[in-house]
Symmetry: C2
Subunit: 220 residues, 2 copies
DNA sequence: TCAAAAGTGTTCGGCTTACACCCATGA
DNA sequence: TCATGGGTGTAAGCCGAACACTTTTGA
């Protein structure tokens, strides 16, 4: 069918164009639980469904720039580390028009970005990962894929983005790991492993108000 | 800037549209060397540059379907396992128009798909990985990223797609690994590791014409 | 003073690495 | 027969998992 011959692997000037959307799984860690930021749609399709924050890529913007714009509008979140997850191109994933989505994830501190959205307070909310409802579009799938990628990254490197405050105890870090990975970790083995990565430095300060007087660490 | 309010994370019906291209790193294993299939562009921009085979995504096709179409037109390659690598959205990556590309890699047997393209024989060719020239667009980057992903996948699983014939010796498999990973492996340790994965079955046949009479294996 | 949490070391098993000899086959 | 490559086992080091007691602190 294609009018593109074997050599014309170029994109011709009149080729089909299509909307590209970015969707972002914004993970946060609060009250010792991993949470995700969702927004409620106020328009069709999927009106009143919760979905991942996202939107169309605009002219002159890259995908990460578009994400930053969307998040900045929603929550004031800025300058966060984004990780690309995957691209979704099924023809029927948007019921009205063709949309290809690229998903990212981001790790933020919820307390840095109070979700008191300017106008519509009931329509953006942090959900515990275990309590995520059925989402609009194929966003449950995107969330699952992002979480897998986050877990992989966490297992391999010491990547926890902005999920913790600047100073934190090893116990807090361990609880973060346990939450994201969904499994219990041995305290002593965890300490050993994390410390021998050499990416944390002790501050010689102790966290006040906690029994035992745990040492505070920061990222190197 | 954005006309998209905080709640309207939907893709609006008049949102900006943009060409989406797919590019594919087709890896093959021939003469004991990892190779990659490149095509030479016959039109501007980047006329006479070698690039990854690819093309625009068409209406009604998913990205993988578009890849299959492109490869089928170029080489007769069909029904191959594709792995998504990444999405590239820099604004200036195509000098003439805005194009967002999604890259994939595929593993094929060169001997199954003789590259005698119907018309323009000098314009499609297998290159040894070490001999890849400067490519058009940002395709050297795409190639590097694909190769990294291939290596990661190979280290973790036993994924070698269609790179080997149906029956192969462990030595052939080892040479494939060494080529892709770019490092030497110990023969005995390699055998142990691969066999204990339990994904190969011995056929009780020996490969003829080779000293030592090596056993032929196949995928389970 | 006591309860709760922090901090620390050792042992075991499995996995990876390094390494050398005998056997089968084609020439 | 011989040269080439195929096939196998063992010992050492490394990493991750399991596990108990002492110290510090807030209440």
């Amino acid at each position: 069918m294609s009018k593109i011959g074997p050599l014309d692997t170029a994109v011709s000037l009149d080729s089909y164009e299509c909307t590209i959307a970015v969707e972002c799984c914004v993970f946060g860690f609060q009250d010792n639980v991993l949470k995700i930021l969702l927004v409620k749609r106020s328009i069709e399709p999927f009106k009143d469904y919760w979905v991942l924050p996202g939107g169309a890529m605009n002219e002159g913007k890259t995908l990460p720039e578009s994400i930053e714009e969307v998040l900045s509008n929603l929550t004031g979140i800025r300058k966060i580390a984004l990780e690309q997850v995957a691209c979704y191109s099924n023809v029927e994933r948007h019921p009205i028009k063709r949309v290809v989505s690229v998903s990212y994830y981001a790790l933020v501190k919820p307390e840095d970005y109070p979700v008191i959205p300017k106008n519509y307070i009931s329509d953006i909310m942090w959900f515990e990962i275990g309590d995520v409802p059925e989402l609009g579009f194929d966003h449950n799938r995107l969330l699952t894929d992002s979480l897998s990628k986050l877990r992989d990254n966490l297992r391999q490197n010491l990547v926890f983005g902005e999920l913790l405050p600047d100073l934190f105890t090893l116990k807090e870090l361990q609880e973060l790991y346990e939450n994201i990975l969904g499994e219990r970790l041995d305290r002593r083995n965890f300490r050993k492993k994390i410390l021998q990565m050499g990416l944390l430095v002790p501050t010689n300060e102790k966290k006040a108000g906690v029994k035992g007087g745990p040492e505070l660490y920061k990222k190197k």
